[in-house]
Symmetry: C2
């Protein structure tokens, strides 16, 4: 039994129904046909290398074996990346995609123990090191004669960076910093590759000099001997153990006991400690925002990509799987024809596009503001920061929920590792926590919104919150249009922010401290920020599609997706809409009908839409989601790879089971 290259006939039939040109959509998503081709070349270069495949599927290995296999592949992957660089092909812009993105994750399977070297170690050296320091470190790091990681989070502190406890105390006598972990909670905990892979790290610690603490700063610390890889004296290091996902990233812990490093190992571009211990601080502290925002741009893109993967898997599976009969005289029904199934799939397909365009917007604005910042203009930074926060929170939360909905939509087979849905969920849900926990980010965004609300005039130069000036007073009689939904969401968002603001003020008036009033209103603040974020995504999706230069056929289907995303959000928020907008049950019924019409309208294009994401089978890595739709053959083949199936009788029979069974004879 072998998964033939023949396309499952049900899936072939679906592809014939498609109303638009899937290549046109693929090119659009890639940014043009040339980009598509470059991507495909890159994919071939990595994915068709037999050395980069594992002999046994990772899930069957022990934790230790998984790590060892990951180091093998990570080294090969880095070599290939360097080969591309040497050929002048693989610029820094593709680096992240290859190492941390979907391509790297397809190759490594469950995390890369060396990724932080390129993704955090080198960028931090570049961003915070002086020219001298860059000269010393970057060459070595770039050619990979040392491997670094970035050690910030501690056992006791993640979100609250100011609370980090690791200390770096300057000793002017020897011109050294002395690093210590004064408590168990001060142990570094989580950095990828820290356990057994990296031999250097940028360590974030509280800087003490001349008996004063100057807050957190970054230091380059050698962790292991370059020849033997043995931990250096005073370095207590290891891995933190298994996790829900990313079990090959080798997340580590690290404790210091009087570890001495030269003064020049503090990264001193923005702050300095002079040899006598004098501390010199930098003029601007907003510079570090840049990286944080950049990372969140990437996360919104990743959220879209994970959701795409799951949408492909669940949609193709639904176009092949038959179960029950709608009418007794008919053959068994394709589960894609059940409206409840469509309701699980199609809004998530639309969401992939919505997030992709939100990420593109954020990327463009990030670049704009970055160049403004270089000329000293910081006006839009708080707005950008608030928007990045809310988009990261909404997109990762919805992507995780979406992946899980799609996994459940595949029934029992979605529970199998071979579907690749469990692992996709493990990776996407992690994003809800790292790089800013979602509730914390929504509250940060809410803080900006409340500030704007309390002083709302001349918002013309703040495009994401401009609507707050007027939205709450607008009359918006119900219409079945995306324009109406956007206006309604804006009014709802504005009303919700206004209400939360009133509640804060009420509480202060009743004698609560401002901070307590904030905390006591925080459920509503989180909701307000969430609604603001969704409003922004709907609007950006709508306006982007309006401006696209595409064929009429593609425009038609894209418009349907915009409508579907908008209606889904409106219905999701109907409890708020009914509170703040002058509409009634009939109008909600009309939205529900519109939803049902859209599901039916998108039905023939469902497979075409996920095909146009153009993700290779190796990246989808799912028995349920491959292009040929040979679901059952692939599930069966996957099972044959279990080492348990290599022998008809497992040794546990003679060791345990037989003695037990025979004890009753």
């Amino acid at each position: 039994m072998s998964a033939s290259q023949k396309i499952n006939p049900d899936l072939a039939k679906e592809r014939k129904k498609c109303s638009f040109n899937t290549s046109e959509l693929t090119h659009l998503l890639d940014g043009g046909p040339r980009k598509t081709q470059e991507r495909k070349e890159r994919e071939r270069f990595f994915l068709e290398d037999p050395e980069l495949r594992s002999k046994v599927p990772l899930e069957y290995l022990s934790h230790k074996e998984k790590y060892e296999e990951a180091v093998r592949k990570a080294c090969l992957l880095f070599k290939k990346v360097q080969q591309l660089q040497n050929e002048g092909k693989g610029g820094m812009e593709n680096f992240r995609e290859i190492l941390g993105g979907q391509l790297g994750s397809a190759i490594l399977g469950d995390g890369n123990p060396l990724t932080l070297h390129y993704v955090m170690f080198i960028p931090t050296l570049m961003g915070q090191g002086t020219y001298d320091q860059q000269a010393e470190w970057i060459q070595k790091a770039w050619e990979c004669s040392i491997i670094g990681t970035y050690a910030q989070t501690e056992l006791g502190h993640g979100t609250f960076i100011r609370g980090l406890e690791t200390t770096a105390t300057y000793d002017p006598k020897t011109e050294e910093f002395v690093l210590n972990s004064p408590t168990l909670t001060s142990y570094k905990w989580w950095p990828g590759g820290l356990g057994h892979s990296a031999n250097y790290a940028v360590v974030v610690a509280q800087l003490h000099t001349k008996e004063t603490c100057h807050g957190i700063h970054s230091f380059v610390v050698q962790l292991r001997d370059e020849e033997t890889h043995m931990p250096l004296p005073g370095i207590n290091i290891g891995e933190i153990g298994c996790k829900l996902g990313m079990n090959s990233t080798n997340n580590g812990y690290l404790g210091f006991e009087n570890v001495r490093i030269p003064r020049t190992h503090m990264l001193m571009k923005n702050y300095q400690v002079l040899s006598d211990g004098t501390y010199v601080s930098s003029p601007s502290s907003k510079l570090t925002y840049g990286t944080m925002i950049f990372v969140r741009v990437v996360l919104v893109q990743d959220a879209a990509t994970y959701l795409k993967k799951a949408a492909i898997i669940a949609t193709r599976y639904s176009a092949v799987r038959r179960q029950c009969q709608i009418k007794p005289e008919d053959p068994e029904t394709l589960i894609l024809d059940y409206v409840t199934q469509q309701h699980k799939l199609f809004p998530n397909i639309a969401t992939c596009f919505a997030f992709q365009y939100a990420a593109n917007w954020l990327w463009d604005i990030y670049n704009d503001i970055n160049s403004q910042m270089e000329s000293g203009k910081m006006d839009n930074l708080p707005e950008l920061h608030a928007t990045a926060c809310v988009l990261k929170a909404v997109s990762t939360a919805d992507a995780a929920l979406g992946v899980e909905t799609l996994r459940l939509a595949c029934g029992g087979h979605g529970y199998m590792t071979a579907s690749n849905l469990p692992s996709t969920y493990g990776l996407v849900t992690a994003m809800c926590t790292y790089e800013g926990e979602n509730t914390v980010l929504l509250l940060q965004s809410a803080r900006f919104l409340i500030k704007v609300w309390q002083n709302k005039k001349n918002l013309g130069n703040l495009p994401t919150v401009r609507y707050l000036e007027t939205a709450s007073h607008k009359q918006i009689p119900f219409q079945k249009s995306v324009d109406w939904i956007i206006a309604a969401l804006q009014k709802t968002s504005a009303s919700k922010i206004g209400l939360a603001n009133n509640h804060i003020n009420d509480r202060i008036r009743k004698g609560q401290a401002a901070e307590d009033a904030w905390n006591n209103t925080s459920i509503e603040l989180v909701e307000a920020a969430d609604i603001h974020g969704r409003t922004f995504i709907v609007q950006t999706f709508y306006e982007t599609v309006k401006r696209l230069d595409v064929s009429p056929g593609l425009r038609t289907v894209l418009n349907k997706l915009v409508e579907l995303y908008a209606v889904t959000q409106a219905l999701k928020l109907s409890g708020h809409l009914l509170r703040f907008i002058d509409i009634n049950g009939r109008n909600i019924e009309a939205l529900q009908e519109w939803l049902e019409e859209l599901l039916a309208a998108i039905r023939p294009d469902a497979v075409g839409l996920v095909d146009s994401f153009d993700i290779r089978d190796e990246v989808i890595a799912s028995a349920l989601g491959s292009y040929d739709g040979n679901v059952y053959e692939r599930l069966f083949e996957a099972a044959q790879q279990s080492p348990l199936n290599a022998e008809p009788v497992n040794k546990s029979f003679n060791q345990y089971l037989k003695p037990f069974l025979k004890s009753h004879m």
Copy 2:
């Protein structure tokens, strides 16, 4: 560094705040102090046996090693169960708890490969076998000289049992059935223990005799040689591979190629094939409902138990973890003091109680109706079936969502296997799919609701739907009371069912076939059943607590939990309430205020409430959730158990990493 028995001082402080007697609540939940004591004895008997512990945490083992360790423990566990039986202690009622419930799952960790022997194989023999067959098989099965499983689901069919493809064709010449798997999709797929553990199975197959197919029937089939455990000729068998969870259950596949079994191996209590091949059918086919409903009772209980475990973990962690400061001059804030955190925890604590009482109700009614059925009265069976469906769907969906919310509420540490939250999620989410996929069950419940709606009179003898007679006409002016919430939810539920019914009729009137009209209305039907289920749970919780004989202190806190559950459900459904009930935004604001008051009121009792679930540390199995609250010590200790940490330098350094690093020198 060792996790001392000293209680974390923050947690000790919380325990002092508790307003009620936690032992009283524990006894109430157990069903009396004697039951508590029996439970504790049972727990000691199993959990304090050092043989039943693993040397290395399971997550570090390979898939194969996990299975072997599971067989070792499963045999020991069965022996201990038999010991209890011999001492007259462990009746059948505790069996499931020990084998399939929390106790068994604490011991086995990730599934028991032998559970289906007691949970499905023996009960099926008892339910469907004749006296002669029982005499032949049950003795052997009961003393474990054979090990059986139950093979129903196939690669191609789960929900749609009538679509199963395995055939059992009667051959009157030899008086045998010939079993075959005519297609790949007809392979049995999923049965627990089928892969390498069981040597017998009850197999569900399409019965063919005298050239007629009589639908699915059950057959006892020997799979493996009792001495060598080798698969018998014509038996193609193995395991299906890794899954999101339950990786030690040894879920298997099974194909037949002309496997012959004696005629007497068909289970013939209700149907017979005579030796000449004549088929004799049974008078009642409703008897099989019984087991299905029983299993769902158990699932609602399990949903409550998983949620309890996660609530304990997240609440204790939140009472120990400090992060950020509400006010700059204060020490770092316990995360339990953030209102957004309380909003993630406390409604889930309330939900544990609500589900527990719903399960109790279902159990009582199941027993009532079972004895009615024995006297031939079947009137309430459809209602019971519909209620079991909706309660299974709502409780498993909310428990899964709750566990995940609680996991995310523990931030990064909730992502660690040592928190036991990932594994708890893996087990609880599986329940959304097995024993009736949730969307399918909601639609079955909706079918009953629509039927009742279309003929709604004299509902007096149908307690769960009685309200449909009058609810949609009631005037219910807003009040801040649980009575109002129940009335409002009932009116909403009735209106929603009525609306869905209208939409079905509209569609039929426009020319759609009844089946298509049903499918096209199914999103609303699912919502209607879901609201009906929630309404029932709120009401049952409220009424049960009203009748309890408890101290005033405990009553006060239980009432708060009822209110919190009710308000949370009302706010969750506010989009529907605002459509169907005459309320406005101000009323929703009042509900929101009530929610916030309740969170504050429950805050001092939060730790006491989860303590009173009285789940042992071995069962919680979480570094974040142990009774002593020594979170960081336990996380650190757990990491030390990783085999990767047993050596300072992993072999992959010399094998892969060093050659790579040195290649650039």
